[in-house]
Structures are given as structure tokens and as C-alpha cells.
């Protein structure tokens, strides 16, 4: 019975982390899947969201600026707004150039943000991070606090999913697909391509900020290395590509599936003795990378291929 209880808690934890990653994957799906924009700095937007929500919602502390004791929903909204603003600034500069420039610039933004959170010790407590971050429903009794956290995360994912599905089928979503498929013809049809792209990038960035905020509240702690700049970004990419770029359901399933694989293999490798455990962690990254390459080359559509919208009578 105890064992079953343990497994259930582990399952809840998988769903919670997987759900938070699903927010990131859905955000990337708007950028990459819908619009064809490459964001190599997912970790940066994630960390900004985490810090903003953490600092606004914690009780006042000597170690960092604030805390401001905000209710969590408000701090999460603030996290989304700040991430969106940074996304807007990057997108404005790079949008008239090709995807590669945006990739380089977003990689740079993630790095600069990490430097700021690390060096500005008065604001962020530097490398020691922000702790005692409140968690939703943490005062409930033992299993129910975990259950409620999972419910909150999955509810947010569900809301995002329905909003994104509506957006995808709306005229706005159709124009996005048109831009990705043939930019020139979308432009010729009188669409303001650059502005629409900036919009998609900003919405995606906001969702990554939300994911970061939720992660901060779930872990109750955040430091500048919370999201290892490449592995975190990379994992979200793999999730979306495996699930199916351009498909919201694919993004969610990909996130839950890849998180389960990532987490379960960690349990396995950590059981290996000493040095071997450290080394096999590298093999894990290698295999995930290889999996991405195979998916890209052989199954570029992923598990859930993008559903094409009926174009209607285009005569």
C-alpha cells in the first residue's frame, strides 16, 4: 500500500513537471510551430518569469529586493508581462531578418539574463538564489497539497490549450500559417507580416514566463542556473518536435512523454555506482540529441502531425 502511495506521488510529480514543460512547449509551438520563429533562449524567458513571480510573491526578505507578498495569480501575470516585454524587444530588432538572427539574439538574451541574475546580488541574492517562495495549496494535508498543485498546473495547461486552438483556427492563426509557408504571398495579400510575427513571438514568450513562474512556485526555490541554458531549451525543442511541431495536442503529449522519459532515465542512471552515474548522465543527453536528429530526418511531423485547416472554396 505504501508502495502504491509512493508511485502515485511520483506520478503526480511527473504530471506537474510535465505540465509546466507543456506550457513551455505550447509557447514554443506558437513561435516555431505556427510561425516558424526559432527561439534559442527559452531558458532565458523561463528564468525571467521564475524570478519575477518569485520576488513579487515571497514575504519581505533581507537577501533580495522585496519580497512583496503578492498573491500568486498576480505575480504570475506580472511574470508573463515582463517576459512578453523582453520578447517584444528582441522580436522588434530581429523580425525583419531571417530566423537564424533571431536564434542568435535569443541565445544572447538568455545568457545576458543569466549574468544579470547572477551578478546583481542586491536584487536577486546572486548565485544563492531566492528561497521560501510560496506554493499554491501548500497548507493542505500531505497528499492533497500535491494533488492540488497538479490540478492547478493541468488546469492552466487546459486553458492555454483551448485558447491556442481557438487562435489557431481564427483568421489570425491562418495568417500565421500562411506567413510560415510563404512569406512573400502573405505580404502580397496585404498582411503586415512583421507585426504578426512579433505578436506570435510575444505571446509565446509570455507563456514561457508563465511556465517559469509556475516552476518557481512548485520548487519553492530559484537560482540563476535553475534552467541550464542549453539543456532546458533543448529539452523543450525535443518535446515539441517529438510531439509534432504545429500541433498543440502534440506539444502537450510531447512534453509529458519526454519529461517522463527524461525523469525515469535519471532514476535509472543515478542507481549506477559513482563515476558511472555521472558519465551516463552525458549519454542520456547524447541519446536525446540523437532522437531529435532521427525525428527531424525521418519523422519531421512528429507523433501528432499538424492538422491542416480546410481552406474552403478558394476558387
Amino acid at each position: 500500500m505504501d508502495q502504491l502511495y509512493g508511485y502515485s506521488l511520483y506520478g503526480l510529480s511527473l504530471l506537474t513537471f510535465g505540465g509546466i514543460y507543456a506550457m513551455l512547449a505550447l509557447g514554443l509551438n506558437i513561435q516555431l510551430g505556427f510561425t516558424g520563429l526559432f527561439n534559442a533562449g527559452i531558458a532565458g524567458f523561463f528564468v525571467v518569469g521564475a524570478y519575477v513571480s518569485a520576488i513579487l510573491s515571497t514575504a519581505p526578505s533581507e537577501r533580495h529586493i522585496g519580497g512583496f507578498d503578492w498573491p500568486i495569480p498576480f505575480s504570475l501575470v506580472a511574470a508573463m508581462v515582463v517576459s512578453a516585454l523582453i520578447g517584444w524587444a528582441v522580436a522588434r530588432i530581429c523580425m525583419r531578418l531571417r530566423a537564424d538572427y533571431l536564434a542568435i539574439a535569443t541565445l544572447g538574451i538568455a545568457e545576458i539574463l543569466r549574468l544579470i541574475f547572477k551578478n546583481e546580488t542586491d536584487l536577486t541574492n546572486g548565485a544563492r538564489g531566492v528561497s521560501y517562495i510560496p506554493k499554491p495549496y501548500e497548507s493542505l494535508a500531505q497528499p492533497w497539497n500535491h494533488v492540488m498543485m497538479t490540478v492547478v498546473v493541468l488546469a492552466i495547461v487546459a486553458v492555454l490549450y483551448f485558447m491556442l486552438e481557438r487562435a489557431r483556427k481564427s483568421p489570425w492563426g491562418r495568417v500565421m500559417a500562411a506567413i510560415r509557408e510563404n512569406e512573400d504571398s502573405a505580404r502580397a495579400a496585404g498582411k503586415n507580416v512583421d507585426r504578426l510575427r512579433v505578436q506570435a513571438f510575444v505571446v509565446g514568450s509570455a507563456m514561457m514566463g508563465l511556465g517559469g513562474g509556475m516552476m518557481a512556485h512548485h520548487l519553492k526555490f530559484i537560482d540563476p542556473n535553475a534552467a541550464d541554458p542549453t539543456t532546458a531549451t533543448f529539452l523543450v525543442f525535443v518535446m515539441l518536435i517529438v510531439g509534432g511541431s504545429g500541433n498543440n495536442k502534440g506539444a502537450i503529449v510531447g512534453a509529458l512523454l519526454m519529461w517522463t522519459i527524461w525523469s525515469a532515465t535519471e532514476i535509472f542512471t543515478s542507481m549506477l555506482p559513482g563515476d558511472l552515474a555521472i558519465r551516463s548522465a552525458y549519454i542520456r543527453v547524447f541519446l536525446i540529441g540523437l532522437m531529435l536528429q532521427i525525428m527531424l530526418q525521418k519523422f519531421p511531423q512528429g507523433l501528432f502531425p499538424e492538422k491542416r485547416l480546410e481552406t474552403g472554396s478558394s476558387g
Binding site: 531578418l97 539574439a105 551578478n119
Partner: protein, 296 residues
């Protein structure tokens, strides 16, 4: 004043030469294969570790082993191109960039697995700098790095300006369709591009390791300044990459000089931000870069 030269200008030139060599490969792949290769940093790292391993085996100086490293690294990089980039020759750029991002982490995990994540050094201990005119302190390794980098840049210039394959590379960078129409063997040019880029990456990795240390993150740490150097110089412009590299390396080091008052102008912790700021400035005001490169 002499502190300025000893501790800022000379290290800046050394760092700049390293960025310049790295950026040559980035700008050529960007110009000819049309994608930003995120794996380029890890290729430099791999070059440093290959040299380190051969030093363990032979005990020779890293600069003597550099040509061997270049050959091995070129073969490895051509293999990578065949396995991971060739299938995407006609795909949208985003797909290739994702593939290169994945390859970056695959190479890094291989280096971490093979050589461990801890720092290593080519030459243990601290080298005493030579002192000229009682005040000018230049370490011998810095002289070696800057001179070797200059020689390599001249070689790149000679290849691009005077050899058949070099001219074909420049033609393809200017217009791939036109190059194909005139009968240039594009796959051969692509191979040559990877070889030239890999040789310069090997040199950049070895010089960087010789200047400081060998670590599995060293290539990634200079990836952003390397990209910045290629963009500042103009995509597809190797001479631009050299100028951009030197400009960024020197600016990074000069940014922490006490220009105003006693403290450094910019905290050294933010040095990495300098290249980014220069790159953003160029993207806003002159996206084609200093040498009027391509804008995609």
C-alpha cells in the same frame, strides 16, 4: 597607460584573434550553407581536447600538433555534415538550425563523457611574461597566438583569393543559384567550406586552451562573441569576420578598463554582454555588417 596596454589591449588582441578564427568558419557556413551553425563552438572545444590527448601521448607542443588536429577535425566535421546536415540541404533554415542545436549538445555530451567535465591545462603553472622596455609585459604565448593567427588569416586570404576552390566558395557565397549554373560542383565547395571552417575552429580552440585552459564549456562560452563577430563583419565575408573578431575581442577587454574614475567601466562579470550589445547595435543600424555582407 602601460597597465592599459598590458592588461587590456594585449589580452584584447589575443581574444580578438581567437574570435576572428572562429568567426571565419561561422561566416562561411552561414554564407554558403545558409544557416547559423550552433555546433561551431563545440567543434572548437573538440579541437582543443584532441590536441590535449595528443599532447599526453607525444609530449609535443600544442602548436606543433595543430596541423594534425586540423586534419582529424576536418574529417570529423565532414562526417557530421554527411550525417546531420546533408539531409537538410533543401529544407527551411529553421530545421537545419534545430539540427545544429541538437548536434551541439551531442558533441558536448561526447566530450564530457570522454574527458570529464573538470578543467584541464595544456601547460600547468603560470608562465612568466617577458618584459620589454622595463614596463611592457608580453607573455610569450600571447606573441605565439597572435602571430600564428595572423599567419592563418593570410592563408585563408590566399585560399579565397588565389585558388580555384576558394574562388568557387566566394562565388557560392554570393549567389548559390548562379554558382550552380556556371557548373561549380556545389557538394565539393561545401566540403571545402567545412574543411576551412574546421581548420580555423581547431586553431581557435587550441589557442583559447593555450591562453587559458581546456574545458567542455569553452567553445559554448565563445559561441556568442563568435556569432557576433560574423554578423558585425558581414555574413559571408571572411575578412569581415577577422575585423569583427578583433573589434569585439578588443572592445570586450577595454570595457573593463577604468575609463572614468577608479573602478572598471563595466564590471568584468558582464564582459560577455559587450559582444551582444555590439551585435544588437549592428543588427539595428547596419544589418549587412561592416563589410556589406548578405542579409537574409
Amino acid at each position: 597607460m602601460i597597465d592599459f596596454i598590458n592588461f587590456h589591449l594585449i589580452p584584447g588582441l589575443v581574444l580578438g584573434s581567437i574570435y576572428a578564427l572562429g568567426a571565419i568558419g561561422v561566416t562561411l557556413t552561414f554564407g554558403i550553407l545558409r544557416f547559423a551553425n550552433f555546433a561551431h563552438g563545440e567543434i572548437m572545444t573538440l579541437g582543443a581536447y584532441l590536441t590535449l590527448t595528443m599532447m599526453w601521448l607525444t609530449g609535443w607542443h600544442p602548436l606543433i600538433l595543430l596541423p594534425v588536429t586540423m586534419v582529424i577535425l576536418s574529417l570529423i566535421v565532414i562526417g557530421m555534415d554527411q550525417a546531420f546536415f546533408k539531409p537538410f540541404r533543401n529544407s527551411p533554415a529553421v530545421t537545419v538550425v534545430i539540427a545544429s542545436f541538437g548536434l551541439m549538445l551531442m558533441i558536448r555530451s561526447v566530450t564530457q563523457f570522454s574527458w570529464g567535465a573538470q578543467l584541464q591545462a595544456f601547460v600547468p603553472g603560470i608562465q612568466r611574461p617577458n618584459v620589454f622596455f622595463d614596463a611592457l609585459r608580453i607573455s610569450p604565448k600571447h606573441i605565439l597566438i597572435v602571430i600564428s593567427a595572423m599567419v592563418l588569416m593570410l592563408v585563408v586570404h590566399w585560399v579565397l583569393a588565389h585558388t580555384r576552390i576558394g574562388k568557387a566558395m566566394r562565388a557560392m557565397s554570393d549567389s548559390p543559384e548562379l554558382a550552380r549554373l556556371t557548373g561549380i560542383n556545389t557538394e565539393l565547395v561545401i566540403k571545402a567550406t567545412w574543411i576551412l571552417g574546421a581548420c580555423m575552429a581547431a586553431a581557435a580552440g587550441v589557442f583559447l586552451a593555450y591562453d587559458s585552459h581546456v574545458s567542455t564549456m569553452m567553445g559554448f562560452q565563445i559561441l556568442l562573441p563568435t556569432f557576433a563577430a560574423a554578423i558585425v563583419g558581414g555574413i559571408g565575408r571572411p575578412y569581415g569576420a577577422m575585423a569583427g573578431g578583433l573589434l569585439i575581442g578588443v572592445t570586450e577587454e577595454l570595457s573593463s578598463y577604468a575609463w572614468l574614475g577608479d573602478g572598471p567601466l563595466l564590471e568584468p562579470g558582464y564582459k560577455a554582454g559587450v559582444s551582444f550589445a555590439i551585435m544588437i547595435g549592428v543588427l539595428i543600424w547596419r544589418p549587412s555588417g561592416l563589410f556589406r555582407g548578405r542579409v537574409f
